[in-house]
Amino acid sequence: MADELRVDSGALIFATLADVYISSGMIDEAISILNDGLARNPNYHLAKIMLGRAYYLKGECDKAIEILEPIYDVVKEDETANLCLSICYHKQGDHAQAMRFCEAVLRINPDNSEALKLLKEMTPERSPEPQVEVTAPEAPAPAAVVVEQPTIAVPLEAVVPAEPLPAGLQETVVETEAPVHEISELDIREIPEKTPEVESMPLAALDRPARRLLDLDSVKRVFISTKDGLLIKNYSKGDNDVEAMCASVAAICLDVDESFRMLKRGGLTRCIIEKPDETICVMAVGDSLLTVTTRIEAKPGLVFVYAHKIIEEIEEILR
């Protein structure tokens, strides 16, 4: 999949932006951009995983499953895809499938806290039946399962003494003493709103690099926008017309891009616009634009040197 990312940098761009949208809670926007991107890159599986996750975060588990299941054979080693499927099936009440994908997550990453939590939740749920039940998922299970016998769940108080358990299952029985009364709470509970992936890359992570630019004396404002002129994040306080500036910068960049397409000389990478009262430096970061406005006396070279480092940092965060 990493190879696919390297080859299709265009796809990476829309997926990166979608990830930003998801991180900032703009799920509908993320779904929209992912659907658009997938129309151009239908085989870009990472974007499909993100789309599945977006639908799951939106609460549309049916759609998430519909997107992730057909590509599962290709992405079966992906932690996010397995976690999404596990949570979605759990929410739909299909515990066998939920368990299957949960096991796959734990096989990939035994420390995945969401999967461990889910497994803990599902274990008592599966124990109201008073007999020993060993279920196997219909689809082939992952080759090496870290959590041994996770589908065996028998509460001690529910076991009829006249029916002794098979010797090999004794340990499992001891481990499943969790109270059964938790089931009702679990059923009511919403799926976790924040997955670890979302928590690990909030948009706030971009603050630090942007603040470093703002620390330069000559820098007036810094903001990130989409190439079509929508503001993603503004780092300048008390700046009311930043959205108008976003639209203007995007319009200029779009014109430049179109013009250079005519020349077949590649697209815009960065741009300095000098006005009598200020200088605007615009840099393309994937499918977004980082705009830095400086005082007229600022040295554009200095801004670019700083901005270049920051762009690398931003790309790393978004990746």
């Binding site: 910068v249 200029i252 013009s259 005519m262 000389r265 815009l268 990478t269 616009i273």
Partner: protein, 106 residues
């Protein structure tokens, strides 16, 4: 300084003076670049900057994957220089400013 002399700067691929309507007034370029196209692009970009940012006497330096295009408004029109991305953009910018102050048609 004459506009045609801008082309003598190392790694400059084309330079010229274009009216706001995009018609070329003067210009020179290497064989693979069409001065008229460059002029049209220069006029389009400067007009867009003026329109979008409400800026008079705007100038711009545009970096693409392969080239750098420098644009500056002058009394006679828009002066533009297209160079390779590894050109000395600082030097080109200084020369462009000189030309833009009083452009001389060759």
């Amino acid at each position: 300084m004459k506009i045609g002399e801008l082309i003598k700067i190392p790694k400059v691929l084309g330079a010229g003076l274009v009216g706001e309507d995009g018609f070329i007034i003067d210009g020179r370029s290497t064989y693979e670049y069409d001065t008229e196209k460059l002029g049209a692009i220069a006029a389009r970009v400067i007009n867009r900057i003026k329109q979008s940012l409400n800026a008079q006497d705007a100038s711009a330096i545009i970096y693409t994957q392969d080239n750098v295009l420098l644009l500056r408004e002058s009394t006679e029109g828009i002066v533009f220089v297209m160079c390779q991305k590894d050109a000395n953009v600082g030097l080109v910018r200084i020369r462009l400013s000189k030309v833009a102050r009083a452009p001389e048609v060759s």
